[in-house]
Point group: C2
Chain length 223, copies 2
């Protein structure tokens, strides 16, 4: 496993938000394993910022739920027990199912167009093996989709749980086959948006979550 010290980024100017995003990416791509210690000094050295921003970034990561802090002891990348994974996914399924049910169908053309554009970009990234792009367009696709439910607070909570499940989803990023399946799901979702059956759409949104969850739980149980 790569350590934090091996990664350096000299060129870019960082603020606390961009640091948080960079570390978030490190986690989804498995460069930063759950349980890894995150000291202020390492961040300081890696991002060339003042202690103030390093601290702030850690606080930010804590509220995003991807890091846990203990008083006077610093932060570690959150590691999830299978029990916690199950809990997180139970809530995720609940939220996403309801969001899907609340989307007025058939969806307006602009939404379909926007999602189709994201979908195509996602597909290009998958084929090119450009994981960062895959991750970004994937998240944007889902947030755009669920935003159509009209409840911004629900969408915010969905976003929170997407972040909480980051380490779980990291596994599935590695295989192009699972990315293709995911991509196909997205296509189906767009199709469903043109129809009138919220329940089928909702079921699809829930099913879409299963592969990465199952893969993770299987992985943990055999290690």
């Amino acid at each position: 496993m790569q350590t934090l010290n091996d990664i350096s980024e000299d060129e870019i100017e960082h603020d606390d938000l961009s640091i948080a995003r960079a570390l978030e990416e490190d986690i989804i791509f498995g460069r930063l394993a759950p349980g890894t210690r995150l000291t202020e000094d390492t961040l300081l050295a890696r991002f060339h910022v003042t202690r103030h921003f390093a601290r702030q970034a850690i606080v930010q990561l804590e509220t995003m739920g991807i890091v846990v802090r203990e008083r006077n002891k610093g932060a570690t990348v959150r590691s999830l027990t299978p029990r916690q994974v199950q809990e997180i996914y139970d809530v995720r399924e609940l939220l996403q199912r309801q969001a899907a049910l609340w989307i007025p169908l058939p969806a307006p053309d602009e939404l379909i167009a926007e999602l189709t554009a994201l979908h195509e970009e996602h597909g290009r990234h998958v084929e090119a093996g450009y994981l960062r792009g895959v991750h970004e367009t994937n998240d944007k696709f889902h947030l755009t989709l669920f935003s159509a439910c009209g409840n911004s607070h629900l969408v915010q909570s969905i976003e929170l749980y997407m972040r909480l499940s980051l380490p779980v989803r990291a596994n599935s990023m590695s295989s192009k086959e699972s990315l293709r399946i995911s991509h196909e799901h997205h296509r189906l979702m767009i199709e469903m948006l043109k129809g009138r059956d919220n329940w089928v759409l909702a079921q699809l949104c829930v099913d879409h979550l299963q592969p990465s969850k199952k893969r993770y739980l299987a992985y943990v149980s055999e290690h």
Copy 2:
């Protein structure tokens, strides 16, 4: 309306968490109206702490969702549009209904005992008109109840939405009659925990939310 400057607390030593709690209480009791500006200097003067802690308290309040911050402009107590209230309550209902459905029935005796104790304390505070106690035992009652669902993440989200609806619930704290109704609801919930029908319990938990929501929406629409 009282302003922030009129409230002072000399005796107590404060850290950022206790400041956050104190302000949270000010909001639920209507001492701090939504939209009120929260400058660092006023907190500084009121709590006799260094700027560092005042800042941290504001950050804390922001992540708790009861304050909104704008860059370079400071924080204001979050004010909710009727639309937002509706959204928040829709999610709250969703979460609490599901939590109720997930509670294994009949509930174990220890849980019943714990809730009964809280219920009695709540009742005493209602009759004594001790609002702080009412609020505290009320929240503790619900968190204890929902914790029985076994999903700590769901409970955390419920807690978040309870905080988001703080200004809404503030209204209902003022009338002893509505507090008594709420108290009676709690008694019914305990009864339901002894039975086997999750759906009735869930419905009760949802109905329990309606009075303060309706009261608030009615209040806003006529002002």
